[in-house]
């Protein structure tokens, strides 16, 4: 299916690694020019290079999504260097794992700041060029933790749940200007960079501990960054032009809500 993304401009936050990086590469494969936004400079530039190798324009803009001036600069640079902004995918995130009552109170701020305030900063900054164009697609990467809650992930669940509510309000605000806003919601997702972390959390492949976790998923497997990226890029395309204010879980049936 031709998603109609050739020559379009997509900003991807959190694209130095993980799902964000695969989202950026997927955009590039579809012929879109990409803006890599991340606080990690070396890895971010690496992603930009890999996208260029796929035949598109790709620039890296160092961005701390918790600082509005950074995000504002990100969007303005995208418009200046690449002409416009057709899509934004926000994947910048962090998490703190542990039983809520044992976590230090100041550990929540980081999670809410990067995930939720980051999303709000991006939604605010990118609205201006998109409204002027009377067209645009915004996709936030949420989490099933925000849909059904996740044990030992209180701040993360709150932030991702907040992103979902925010995205609907934003969809209602921007809809009359022809802009869609949606959320893609992964479950446990394997990325090239998180193998070690996953092993720590749920055991090695083949372990009984991991088998137990995998058996909770109706499709009997965990997600990959590609699974999530395909859906995010589809939502960011004109082929999903009548989809807005929606949350779609890409988590093998982990949650079946609504």
């Amino acid at each position: 299916m031709d998603l109609g993304l050739k020559g379009k401009v997509a900003i991807v936050t959190g694209s130095a690694q993980g799902i964000g990086k695969v989202v950026a590469r997927t955009f590039a494969k579809e012929g879109a020019n990409v803006v890599i936004a991340d606080i990690q400079e070396e890895k971010g530039k690496q992603t930009a290079q890999e996208c260029q190798a796929l035949g598109v324009k790709a620039i890296f803009v160092k961005t701390d999504v918790t600082k509005y001036e950074d995000v504002d600069n990100l969007v303005k640079t995208a418009v200046k260097e690449l002409g416009r902004v057709d899509a934004l995918v926000h994947d910048a995130a962090t998490f703190v794992i542990g039983p809520f009552r044992k976590l230090p109170v100041d550990s929540w701020n980081k999670v809410i700041n990067i995930c939720l305030f980051g999303a709000m900063n991006c939604g605010h900054a990118v609205a201006e060029p998109m409204v002027a164009q009377k067209k645009g697609h915004i996709v936030f990467v949420g989490s099933d933790a925000g849909r059904t809650g996740d044990a030992s992930q209180a701040a993360y669940s709150a932030a991702k749940g907040g992103i979902m509510a925010f995205s609907k309000s934003l969809a209602l605000d921007l809809g009359p200007s022809g802009i869609t806003v949606n959320v893609v919601s992964p479950g446990l997702t394997l990325t090239p960079e998180n193998t070690e972390l996953m092993e720590k959390l749920i055991g090695k492949e083949g372990d009984e501990k991991r088998q137990k976790v995998v058996s909770i998923y109706p499709l009997r497997k965990l997600g990959t960054a590609e699974d999530v990226a395909n859906v995010a890029v589809f939502m960011a395309s004109d082929k999903a032009g009548h989809v807005t204010g929606q949350v779609l879980s890409v988590s093998g049936g982990y949650s079946m809500v609504g």
Partner: protein, 261 residues
């Protein structure tokens, strides 16, 4: 985006007009072999003609989806003709908009037959085959009426809600065989007059869904317009594809923001 649908066999129920027709043509465009399980022969032949020249193959098997024997026959014939079924799209639906307290019982029974029993028959009809080959994909057309409730569509909405709930249950049962079930929900999707058959529900429904009413209804959508059948079809094709291979038990509204859950 590579969707992996080339050469796959897709069954669509009620592909004779409106949303079903758009889904049928969208899959043929992807290079699939598409079977129209449609009761209206004239409409089905019209759509076969429209499919000429597109990359895939277009076939027709006359089917009454409310009749279990007819459905079993259709599935058997489909497997004989194509060797393997990959996707089922449950699209047949019927509604007559009326306040719940003004509805005659026969209309409820017709709605339950055409919306829910059709879904049960066809889903059950392909599942043995899907389980045996450890793969398969069922995408059902729901409705925002089944998610958030809709004036004048109480039992119709109930049927669409039933499709959502049943798809989730079956998704849990057969996920282990690599079989996925999902539901895609349109908002009001009004066909062109020349597109529908003489027995179509739209012959009556056009009296209600006038151009003036459609313009008024558009205000309820944040995108300020009603959706097209083609837009719904894009989402169905995507959900049936390899690109959506980790999605199951989900409901996606393609309705311009009419419902946000």
């Amino acid at each position: 985006m590579e969707l992996g649908l080339k050469g796959k066999t897709v069954i669509i129920t009620g592909g004779g007009s409106n949303i079903g027709r758009a889904i049928f043509l969208a899959f043929v465009k992807e290079g699939s072999t598409v079977i129209n399980a449609e009761i209206d022969e004239t409409q089905a032949k019209k759509v076969l003609d429209e499919a000429k020249g597109l990359p895939g193959k277009a076939l027709f098997i006359k089917t009454d989806v409310t009749d279990w024997d007819s459905v079993q026959n259709m599935v058997k014939t489909a497997i004989e003709k194509t060797g393997q079924i990959d996707v089922l799209v449950n699209n047949v639906g019927w509604v007559y908009d009326r306040l719940f307290v003004e509805k005659p019982r026969e209309e409820w029974e017709k709605e339950i037959k055409l919306n829910y029993w059709s879904y049960i028959n066809c889903t059950r009809g392909v599942l043995d085959h899907f389980i045996a080959r450890k793969g398969g994909n069922i995408v059902s057309v729901g409705s925002d009426a089944g998610r958030v409730g809709e004036f004048r569509e109480a039992v119709y909405g109930g049927c669409k809600g039933a499709i959502i709930a049943t798809s989730k249950a079956i998704a849990r049962e057969v996920g282990r065989y690599n079989i996925r079930l999902n539901v895609v929900c349109p908002g009001a999707t009004i066909p062109k007059k020349e597109e529908v058959g003489k027995d179509s529900m739209w012959q009556e429904a056009f009296k209600f869904f006038t151009p003036e009413m459609a313009e008024k209804a558009a205000h309820a959508y944040t995108l300020r317009r009603l959706g097209t059948a083609a837009e719904l079809a894009n989402a169905v094709v995507f959900m049936a594809s390899d690109a959506a291979s980790f999605i199951t038990g989900q409901t996606l509204s393609v309705s311009g923001g009419y419902s946000m859950m």
